[in-house]
Chain length 293, copies 6
């Protein structure tokens, strides 16, 4: 039992956790987040999981305490961590969509550009990100670590903030105005450099990443099946998006063929009326679990 | 940005809201009901949504404040609204099933027919519906608007009620007896008559209705795939419901064919044992997202 | 109406109830557990349901009060019930997985084998199971019925317990040590012997069991579709699990074929990388509702 | 049993209900709002309770269906009901504080005074109140009944609204601006005129009102006890609010007296430092249940 | 530490638990029911608590595993336990009020008296209680242990039941009719007979019982203070319930006295109007924590 | 309006918030924490409140952004803030009791004393506190800021931690062993030094602190009233705790006196049996709101 090699995988505690668990389930791995433990079970005896805050993940992956982990690009940069990125896991799910760190000030305040904040106080949970950003713009300001509720600090407790937002709703609700985007971040699969150099760990991580991507691909796509007269086939196939190679199969009735393909779900609502008009019949859309090209 | 034409769509606030959101998601539209706003977002820049009570929807669609909306037939009639109906959206989901407005009295009361209520007090949320119904039957009674909890009013606060019921459970739980069905109602897609006359709005609404119907169709049907020996094919196909045209494809083993079809889910539990007996093998039922014939 | 024959079906109240409802839904039957009633509705006019505690089910099936029912093997044995078992419904869902009755003592206690409990007090909800087990091992001990919270009784309120566990977590959390497994139990479909002798009831129960099994089969399997060059077909097919007979269909492009098969979901994460390497393209995994071989 | 005279008391269903239950409990009456019944129990065999919507209460009290009831002044006026008011039950509890019906428009709209709404559409749940108010100001406008969510209707669905607000927060959150206060309302104990003329019912209602008022009085007041040297007594007593007649009792140590009084809780935080400075010692504040002067 | 004598106190797990915790808090003992532990903490180093199901309490107290405990009289009798009862803790709180075990049958069934159940099946959680009751009435019937939901068993799963009820609501909701009361039960403080013979344990239990009773007394009573002219004193005192000895203190104004007394809360609503009429002024009701006469 | 002087008061966001709101309510101030605002309302027009994280409070009070605030001693020290402490608000309520920062390591680890951690990694939210503590003990170690879940870090993610604990339960649940107490902390009322020098602000803060303390005093004490024969008075009074000066009042019956006093609630359960034995009669314990000596 002790001789099995193990991949130590850091899973993000907090806002990314729930979606991460669902992503692994879609990819074929059952993770058991039971109650309070920080050592979730996984149904793969070659993997050991540890729950780690997204903010601290890159630090522990760099140190080699973990072989790999999932965390946001923002916290990789905030920690200045020297790790390898094996995949961008951006996906259309809660907390897996792109989010932005923005520089914002109170509506009605006189600040218009980052340069106007010279000498001012900026509150943020991302002190490192903010300092790097200010330096790039040649601005000197006091950056204070914020323990939370950053968005309510201007104008009394800070002159400006650098904070995270997905849609901008939270900023507007607090009557803040964006000055600039500091960073766009998405979840990443990161790996320790030593682990990448180990052939067994490298192969293990690559298979895992292939399945995670297969699940993410399926989340945004659907299957489409339809019957088409041979004479209409060209017109129908021409409507299908270029990257989808449709599977065309013979039917018992030789004047018809069946067309089966995979398309992005967001295109379907435009595509269906067009296919129908081009002669597709018995058009059926069905869900997918995984797609590996 | 301001030059994009827009379709103003009223979504029903209240009991129909949650299912309406799911219906649109199935049809391919993401509606964001965020917290308290009455202006939900939708991922189609050509549509603007407003949440409106089902009771008031037809009024605002008639006035042209909205181009179209979803509400029950009951409230269209209650308002006497002059609007066009583009689709009956009846579906096997909560609050989208048919519901009835019934005339009911207390168990043990002497009223047997609507005529027995001459001169009596009837409480209802649908004052207009009730008056029209009484008039049709030549009965004169006092119709009082009820602010809610109508079903507990007889016999103290009213002699009879006209109230909504899906299964009749609520009536029996309150020891009420139905005298008559006043109206059967289902959710409808209604449109302003001016909007129907505008070609762009008309086409936009028709595509939307096609996708909503495609999703409703898929909700009650499933796909069935099976392999069949050529010699058994006729027997198998004969078992399939008439309206389903099965797709029959050639297999590598030429003595077999694959049969793929769509059937109503409620028939499957009878069909599967019969198909199995007729020679179908490797019978698989799978879910569908949309069906457009 | 009174002349329709009816199958009286006992559904298990308690921990098995929720999953049982979902299993029937997957099999195509809608059961309505409305609030407090013990007579759930079912959308099959030939079946009447009654909610009965799993502990009492076998008693009422044996007596013929019920024609059939679902309960654990443990309670069939505890009651010593003379009933027929038509199916083992073990499934990968909450409370439908195998669970064990174990003999356990406090960590640090001197008991090592069941024989060490001679003359001691054992608390359990399964007094009959425990007595049968002790008898088989030739041990005499006092078996006390426990009204609950059995796992906290050692060492003050009992010397040992016989209690149910799925993963052993609960035992360890209470610092208990397993001495032996008394019984492994799973949910069973049991039938009254008289009902089995009645042809109509027998056929009705067999169709029901076929659909329940079809749904359970689908819960652990998925569909896989892929396109393969004819020259790679043998290599690809060889990778597929033996019991899956793939459906191979001709494509318009004659140098390719489409392969469609059903595999156990737990194998997919190993299979996909191998299929990809063997030449499978456009690999798609999709969900299934029912499988009947 | 049937010969006991009964007082039929209407209790307000909805926002006033919970506080009404607590008020009766403080007054010494236990009302049992069990689940779904509209006929709550009360531990006084001479009273029968019915839950009635606040909007409909005055109608049923006027008709004599109820002898008395609790509802807001607003709904008494909206119904134009001819009933007697026995008490204003305003109290510092949720929904028992004064609330205002206000005329409001969207921020940024051109309307400044009620007169600017001539010919416009006003949405409100209080159609009668609003019409009376407009008439008083000589304004003609279209008043539309609103089924709810009135505050989100301007500017699309209405030009102005007449709606209820306690603090004005809700209006500001919806970016509405108040033009005028239409009515200030508080909960009232109302009685049918015939019931008031019945000596037994009259006396019963008056005792009930005395206890309800005793409980309301106690909710805003506290007891204060302190010891004072006889020489400081005048200075201390002078600080006490005029309406409180303190009880001054002799102590074993004759140079001291004990002072016990009742004061409004909101004054205590100013009073305690002053009393302490004037020589009060061992100052203790304690809670009260009822106060009847 | 090990030399401190300890009183082992069993606290009832289940329906009595929450109120028991509050009763001890009122008596001055803080019990910490933290999450899942069955060994609650108590802020008295001379007491050790164990949570035990009410059904099993008497068994463990009789065996001396516990020195004392709180459980219902019903379970003392069901177990036929030989223990001493130190107090009846009946109190006006949830689950501490008297409850009845009743014999009940389905409405409409032919059974009128216990004698009609000769040879029938009776389901109950109190098998011992029921057998003793039947024996007393000379009736022979089959008594089956019920694992729960006893009230829904007639008429299909049992002919009659013996079940617990506080108000009878549950019986009526299940359309059951009471035939007889089998037992009235209240919570009791029971003690092991050996523990009662130990002077230290005896004294410890008696002080504990005194404080529990002091808290229960206060729960149903309130303090009343009022000022009365000396000439009205007799009339006022005569109105006070006999068992309350009022404290009459001299006031600075010698023509008045202050009267302070304790009365049952349920009498207050009758008393206050009478006292007011007899000349009591500045009448104040205030809450109490404990009363020890 | 602008000329009213204002006291800017920081209220602690987070674990202290709820109890702080209740403390102010007991002291006579209603704070309105409505939903999401960070500027709670308070019913004193001379005070302005801001919600601030306990960790940041001292920083903003030192800077003069706030005049005063409530936060833990720990965060005052962590920030090294130069502020005045006006009161220790320790109280027997959730999060207002003393809590400890402790140095802890994994059970079974070789570390016994702080000196054993030389060169090791210590994770903590209190980096400043920990560095000061290590320096005092002459130990050099790497102190890493922990974003949370500190207690699960040993032994993988850290060698030791410095973390907060009230009872030690959390440490034991995570199998940690305490090496030392780093700090005992309680909530403090802190003030800006400039604000203390302003007479109006100083007086305002002192009155506020007097009322907060009055409420805290009452939370742990109760009133006791009893009647005593003059001949037993000395014996009774001798039992009362020294600091309580009882109020002894004359009764109409001159052989008795009434004794009224305030005692700590935790002493009552010992006191009542003794007072009863010494001759106290009609002993009544009652609750208090505030106590100012």
């Amino acid at each position: 039992m002790t001789s099995t090699p193990k991949l130590r995988l850091g899973l993000p505690k907090g806002s990314l956790q729930e979606t991460t668990g669902k992503l692994f389930a879609l990819a074929g791995y059952q993770i058991g987040f039971s109650g309070r433990t920080y050592y979730p079970s996984i149904d793969d005896s070659e993997i050991e999981c540890v729950l780690i805050r997204a903010q601290e993940m890159a630090r522990y992956v760099q140190q080699g305490v973990m072989d790999c982990g999932i965390t946001g690009l923002d916290w990789v940069l905030e920690n200045g961590a020297k790790v390898d990125e094996l995949a961008d896991l951006v996906a259309p799910w809660p907390n897996y969509r792109p989010v932005r760190w923005v520089l914002a000030v109170k509506e009605g305040s006189p600040f218009r550009r980052v340069q106007d904040l010279e000498g001012r106080r900026i509150a943020t949970e991302g002190v490192g990100l903010t300092r790097a950003y200010l330096e790039k713009h040649g601005v000197t300001a006091e950056v204070e670590f914020s323990w939370g509720a950053t968005e309510v600090k201007p104008p009394i407790l800070a002159d400006a903030i650098v904070d995270i937002t997905e849609t901008g709703h939270g900023l507007r609700a607090n009557e803040l105005r964006e000055l600039d985007t500091v960073l766009v971040t998405t979840p990443r699969f990161i790996a320790n450099r030593g682990a990448c150099a180990d052939p067994w760990k490298r192969a293990k991580m690559e298979r895992l990443v292939m399945l995670l991507r297969g699940a993410i691909n399926a989340a945004t796509r659907v299957g489409l099946m339809m019957n088409v007269r041979r004479k209409d086939l060209d017109a129908v196939v021409k409507l299908l998006p270029a990257l989808a190679t449709p599977t065309i199969s013979a039917l018992a009735d030789e004047s018809w063929v069946a067309v089966n393909t995979v398309v992005e779900e967001r295109l379907v609502r435009e595509l269906i009326p067009q296919l129908s008009q081009a002669g597709a019949r018995g058009l059926v859309e069905y869900p997918l679990n995984k797609i590996v090209d």
